[in-house]
Amino acid sequence: MPQNQSKRMLAFALSGIVLAVLPFIVGSTLGNSWVRTLDFALLYIMLALGLNIVVGFAGLLDLGYIAFYAVGAYTFALLNSPHLSIFMPWWFILPLGAILAAFFGIMLGTPVLRLRGDYLAIVTLGFGEIIRIFMNNLNAPVNITNGPQGINMIKPIEVAGFSLGKPVELFGTTYNSVYIYYYLFLLLAVLTVIICHRLQHSRIGRAWVALREDDVAANAMGLNIRNIKLLAFAMGATFGGVAGGLFASFQGFVSPESFGLMESIMVLAMVVLGGMGNISGVILGAVLLTVTPELLRDIIGPLQMKAFGRMIVDPENARMLMFGLALIVVMLVRPEGLWPSKRRKAEFHDALDDGIPAADSQAADGLKG
């Protein structure tokens, strides 16, 4: 279908142009802080797509995913800051962080191979907390992570002697480093999308879905459940590790506070709200959940001042309240997520429409006949 294909090419080209000029439009109208929000949205897209491999594709509920983000971030921070006076090139420590995260993914995966559902969620939650608490307490007797104070002055990524952390001047205008990071994050986010898409439509992707659908049948069809689960944990963790390294270099500062349970829940919410298992949906979820709280921050305070002339509710509380309400409403109205995969949408709707799976009702008919 050449017509269809040219349409797709056009859509790709258009979204490419939009994404390329987006920071300049946002920056000139809303200011640099919103470009920074865009950067974070891209970072969260990478994180959410990584978690989507574990939760969406393989169906393993992981509540400690942020631990891998922490591993990536701390790897970068420790090996490229004055804290330990080690300065290694980013092209070495970013992949190293990814590999370490994958290693931790397997470390987490191995003991939980036999667990499913709620039990798995609880153990992974514990794992996430363990990593955070380690980061918090590894400052004595030997100071490794600098404890709750965190590590600062992390060196930004440098490409060919050009530091991404410094503002650049272009056509007489100075652009903040958030602009340059935007393009780096965009590049890596696109790469993540391609990798996830290719994994999904492969022998490995099918094995993950089979595992999610029925692990006993999958095993009886010759799938090595252990390897497939570990691969899902490792692949998901890898993306978390890369995102963590980027986060560390972008912020220039990491502390255990950034890797709490709330962060894990937030990333999971992106996956679930957007549409588990569907890459487009997960991207939508990540963007919405990054942008909405910031949007509410900008709206609620001024709105109260305008309406009542003073602050009635603390804007920070009101913001989270509205955000929470919005999440509840979405999940009630669209339990399958905003943009679900066809497969998942059908899953929800069939279950709601007829109450019993089609096969069972027909089996009953067959027995009667």
Partner: protein, 256 residues
């Protein structure tokens, strides 16, 4: 002397106080259709699960095609050449019929995550081969027309056939079917019988559990009868049918 494909000896399986399999031994010969019958609760499905690696027997010997499969994991058993279907159909409901069969090819293919990401020529060729073979198998069991339907939306008879196609996708030497005719009308049973004959003539050995004794008597070359976890008879259908212990197990001592 026939050529033995699968051989078990002295298999025991206990669930707590229940001795589900008590010293069971049998031999399945290459190319035959071997039937397993017995009253409810006799241990047929337990034995079936032991033979397909889903249960680990407590004691005994289990060799298949010259390979020791005692206490091996299911995926090792599948790789060795034993594929199965389930009594209560267990398809990947949200995947299409074609995808279900493609999953069955997993064990005979090897593309990894790296290949999937890079999409190198070998991976793409393998992917195409998987798809082609899956289509071929759907046509073989006669449901090629529903390849892109989701498995859970297929009719019951089609689901049964899809399970057989998925199992055949693993290139089995022995295909084990757990009550394939359950819930089928006589017409569907006849079609299924024809399919099983076709599979056998393609060189695959079959193991069947079935309640439909009439079907078993016409289809099977040899039959084993289980009762209370023990094998009480084995032989060609005529012998088994007239065996007093079998009649006793099915109808009670008064009829023997």
């Amino acid at each position: 002397m026939a050529d033995a494909l699968l051989k078990i000896e002295g298999i025991h399986k206990r669930f707590g106080g229940l001795h589900a399999l008590n010293d069971v031994g049998l031999t399945i010969n290459r190319g035959e259709i071997y039937g397993l019958i017995g009253p409810n609760g006799a241990g047929k499905t337990t034995l079936f699960n032991v033979l397909t690696g889903l249960y680990q027997p407590d004691e005994g010997k289990f060799t298949f095609n010259g390979q020791d499969l005692f206490r091996q994991k299911p995926h090792v058993v599948v790789k060795a050449g034993i594929a199965r279907t389930f009594q209560n159909i267990r398809l990947f409901g949200e995947m299409t019929a074609l995808e279900n069969v493609m999953v069955g090819r997993h064990v005979r293919t090897k593309a990894g995550a790296l290949g999937a990401i890079l999409r190198d020529r070998a991976t793409m060729a393998e992917e195409k081969a998987i798809r082609d073979r899956a289509r071929e198998l759907l046509n073989y069991v006669g449901i090629g027309n529903v390849a892109n339907e989701r498995a859970r939306n297929l009719s019951y008879g089609h689901q049964r056939r899809l399970e057989i196609a998925r199992a055949l996708a693993t290139d089995p030497t022995l295909l084990a079917l757990d009550e394939p005719a359950a819930g089928m009308n006589p017409r569907e049973t006849e079609d299924l019988q024809a399919l099983m004959e076709k599979v056998r003539s393609s060189g695959v050995t079959l193991l069947l559990i079935e309640h439909d004794v009439k079907l078993m008597m016409t289809l099977c070359d040899r039959i084993a009868v289980l009762d209370y976890g023990k094998k009480i008879a084995e032989g060609v259908p005529q012998e088994v049918k007239s065996n007093p212990r079998v009649i006793e197990a099915y109808l009670g001592a008064a009829h023997a």
